[in-house]
Each structure stands twice: as C-alpha cells, then as structure tokens.
C-alpha cells in the first residue's frame, strides 16, 4: 500500500515515436519475407527468429511501455523468458525425439 501513493507517471510518449516504431515493424516484416526468398539454408530460420525477437522488443519497449515501467516488470519478464528457454533446452536434450521419429535408431548409449 505504501507504493500506491507515489505511482510514477511515465512521460508522455509522442505520437511520432509510435509511428516510427510501426514503420520499423513493417520494414522488418518485409525484411523477413524478403530473406525467406533467398536461400540462406539453415540460417533462414535463425535470421527470421532474430528479426521476430527484434520486433517483439520494439513492441514491448514502446507499445507496451516497458521502457518506462519499474524494474520489477523487467525481472519478471526475464524469469518467464528463462523458464521458456529451460523448457526448450531440456526437452531438446532428449534428442531421440528427432531421430527416432523418422528412422530406427539404436537405443544404446554410445561411449
């Protein structure tokens, strides 16, 4: 309750900022589409994901005002992000999920 009294008003964000962010987002989208045209092989997805992360960061920082929010918000988002990473990494350690599905593989551990 002690926090309630002094909630900080974040500065007014200009319309211009929003419009520039929007333009950047549109440009990044065209970039992804364009890149998909070239054949970057295994990097295509990596680049597409990188662009998606940049876009998300823009949306988060400006449209969702994260730039102006207290630190707690940032920590909480970090925790969620890390959990997501942990879940993916630990599932991927079980690499039988990829090889087994298509063809037969030995179940032994090779040393």
């Amino acid at each position: 309750m002690d926090h309630a009294e002094h909630h900080e008003e974040h500065p007014m964000i200009g319309y211009g900022t929003y419009i520039s962010v929007w333009l950047a987002l549109l440009i990044l989208t065209s970039l992804t589409v364009a890149i998909a045209g070239f054949d970057l092989g295994q990097y295509t997805t990596a680049v597409a994901m990188l662009v998606a992360v940049v876009k998300t960061t823009l949306v988060g920082l400006y449209f969702m005002h994260l730039r102006y929010e207290p630190k707690v918000f940032h920590y909480m988002i970090l925790v969620t992000f890390l959990i997501m990473v942990v879940i993916v990494i630990f599932t991927f350690i079980d690499d039988y999920r990829f090889s087994y599905l298509n063809h037969e593989v030995q179940a032994e551990v090779h040393h």
Partner: protein, 553 residues
Amino acid sequence: MAQTAAELSYTPYHRETSAFSGIFSWIFSTDHKRIGILYMISVLTMFIGGLCLGLLIRLELIAPGATVIDAPTYNAVFTLHGVIMIFLFIIPGIPAIFGNFIMPLQIGAEDVAFPRLNLLSWWLYISGAALLIIALFTGDKLPDTGWTFYAPYSTATEGNISLAVFAAFVLGFSSILTGLNFITTIHRLRAPGMTWFRMPLFCWGLYATAWIQVLATPVVGITLLLVILERGFGVGVFDPAIGGDPVLYQHLFWIYSHPAVYIMILPGMGVISDLLPAFTKRTIFGYKAIAFSTVSIAVVGYMVWGHHMFTSGMSGTAQIVFSFLTFLVAIPTGIKIFNWIASLYKGSIELRAPMLYTLSFIFLFSIGGLTGLVLGALATDMHVHDTYFVVGHFHYVMFGGLGIALFGAMHYWFPKMFGKMYNEAVAVVAWALIFVGFNVLYFPMFILGWNGMPRRYYDYLPEFQYWHVVSTIGSWILALGIFMMLFNLIRGITSGEKAEDNPWGASTLEWTVPSPPPLLNFLEPPHVTHGAYDFEAMNKGKKDSKKKKKGKK
C-alpha cells in the same frame, strides 16, 4: 475474561452484512476470508470423496481376483481418486484455503490484490469439479487413464476423457488466478515496514508456489487442450498412427506436473516453518536459508521433470542429466529439514495438536523424500518405476507432507478462523490414529514395489497378498482418525469454547487482530517493526503498548 474495548466494537467478518444475504453473502463475497472458508468447505468435501475412493481401492486389493468391483470400474476409481486428490485437493489445498485466509493477514493487507478474480477462481474451481462429476455420468465409459492422461491411450480410449481433461483445464485456470493474485498481493500490499525478509515463511512458500502456478500450469493447459483436439479432430501431435510422438506428450505433461509437486509441497513447508516457532517460542533457525531454499526448490524443480520418464525411451544423455538434477533438488529440501530440527534446539516446546502434526510432517515427508532418491537414481528407478514403490513415495510426500501440514494448519489457524477452540484431547487421539494408520497403510507399499508389484493393477499374484492386507487394514485406521479429526473440528465450530486472539502466543501478524478478524482485517493499520518470528521484539512491543495504555489512563 473481560472484554476489551476493541472486542466490543467490531463485527467479525462472518457477521458482516453485505449486498447479499444467506448463502449468497458467501458465494458472491469477495472477502478473502470468506473465500478461504468456501475453499475449505469445497476442498475438504472433495478430499472426503477422494478418500472414499481410496478406501474402495484398498478394499478391492484386499485379496487377489475380483473382490468388490470389476476391472473397468477399478480403473476409473483410481483415475478419479488421482484426479480428485491432485487437482481438487492438494493443488488448491493450502494456498486456496490458508493462503487466502491467512496470507493477507500475515502481511498486513486488507484483502488480496484482486478480490473479484479471487472469487472467480473459486467459481472456476467449482465448475471444474462439476465438470468432472458430469464426466462421470455422461459418455459410454468412465474416464480410465490414470491421472496422467498418457497418450495415445487417452486419445484413443472410449472412456469419457475429453470432459475430464477439460475439467482439469478449468481447474488449471483457477490455480493460475490464485497464483497471479498472490504474487501481486505480496508485491503490492505489504503493510508499511513489512519488508521481504520480515515476511513469515508461509508467505515465502506461497510466493514461490504462485510463480510455479503462473509459469507451469499453462503448459499442461495446452497439453490437455491438445488431447481434446486430438480426440475431436485428429491433429496427430501425440498419436503415432498419424505421425505424432507419445513420449513428447509425457515431456509436456511432466514439464507441468513435476513443478506441480512443488506447488503441492512448498505451501506445506511454509506452514511448517510458521508452526515451529509458534510452539517452540523461539525464532526459526536460518530464516534466510529457508527462504532461499524455497526459491531454489522452485527453480531447480523446473529442470527435473524427465525423472518420470526414465523407462519411456528417452535419450541416455537426458536420463543422466535429469537424474543428476533430481538429486540436486534434495539439497535445498535437506537444508529446510535441518533448519527445522535446529529450530527445536533450546526452544520451549509445547506438544499441542498442531505441533504433533508438524513433527510428523518432518518424519513422514523425510521418508517420502528419501524414497524419492531411490526413484531418482537411474538403476533403481528402472526397477521400481510404475510399481507400488512409487505409490508409496508419492503418498508419503503428498499425504504425509502436504496432507499432514494441512491438518496441522487446520488446527493451528482454527481459532483465528472461527474464534472457537476444538477439543485438544480428541485432537491428539485423532492425530495418533492418523499417524499410525498412515504408516501401516503406506509403508507396505515400498515392500510391495521393491518386490515388483506394478501399480494400477486391479489384480495381483497371490504372493503379494500379505502386504496388501496389512495396507488395507492401515487404510481403515487412517480413515477412522481422519473422520475423528473432522468431527472434532466441526464440533469445535458449533460448540467449542471461545478462543482468544492469540491462543498459542505466536508472533506473526495474523495473531494481532481479533479472532475472528473483522471485515477489513485490522482495526488499526499495522506498522511492522520486526521480523516475523522475533519473539523478543514482540514481547517488548506488547509491554510498551500496555505502558502506553496505562499512561493514557
């Protein structure tokens, strides 16, 4: 006892009038205390339902062959027993009942951050329970997958799975709302002076739990949704006939359900950390160590889910990694146990009923946890996986851990919630029956499991009968104790003696308000100046305020 001025002039929360009357003043109330009571009634009702199913399982297993029910019924009974106990009893259990009632009092708040969401969460709980019951009476065959809903059995069986799974989904939502509410409450509504490290450890337990509720439950939500989609439309992600991988289902299920076991136990551990100081009259040993171990259990708990899948056909590397990390979880848990028993040292110990539950928690949970290590070790789990050893393990940790902590909490906070006292002698006898019955019921399961008795078996080989009979007898002793305990508490509500504001002489904030508390909890806004278990400061504070009062006169 002479009534003080404060007592004369306040209305306890349950007498407070509101826009609604009668039962509606409860089921539409947004008061965290009323919602806590609503949860208490509904969760305990579900518990008794699950308990009866458990007794039925045990009765069936008293002899090999058909005894009282047929195989499909038996399979539905253990499925329902598991689903009810997990989703309707143990996960909501302590957070929804005592988290709701006690936590805002402990941090000096008037209510939780989102009272209306809190009510919605209860309604979702009730809807989930109702859906589950509807699932029993509709469809061709009862749901019979076990509480784990493993694919592809769950996507193919003719049992009424979709509705049961949807019920679990709704209950997950209810759990998420509770978690979200508690995190916000603890962040925003702590009273002036209530710093993080002055919070009672119960709040720490709830805080860590709430994060798991928020960050793990959605994963099982989507998994269960996919099971429904699989049944309805054949999307194929878990169905090998279409191209899916059933083992991936297990990954997703346990990504939630292992962290969920810490949703179950952390609030219980919080209760124990609160009860110990109250009955030893000394500060807890290693407050920060306990707080940090709570958080680290929650964190490491995210990385061990694979230990449920050692025989499922997971890669060798994954098995080694998951086994290793499983052992790491034992360390913070051990830290808690050691700090708890150190908190007994040089205390002034009073063996009241809640304290008896506390001590038996430490004993039973340790047995459960230590047998968890047998399961976590690779070689031994290959043998005991899916046997009664596992059944023994999880009843010891869930029932012997959280269940017993819940019983302890029910006795400990009883006077605060109802303003009455139960009969101490009956409470102790009931405790003794529960403690003995519990061990007679579940300990034989370790022996059965080590000897190769698989779980979810309707029938078994004659050589297993001896320990099954012992176990069944234990179930009756346990049930007797539980009914005695419940009876004693209900009698306490109807005709118990009036309780004081702080009958145990405990040090946390909830004991500074009248029993039962008024609608907005505190007659005067609290100002916290010392740690949760600082008995010296508390006693000094009391003397000071007495002096002040005298001075005024």
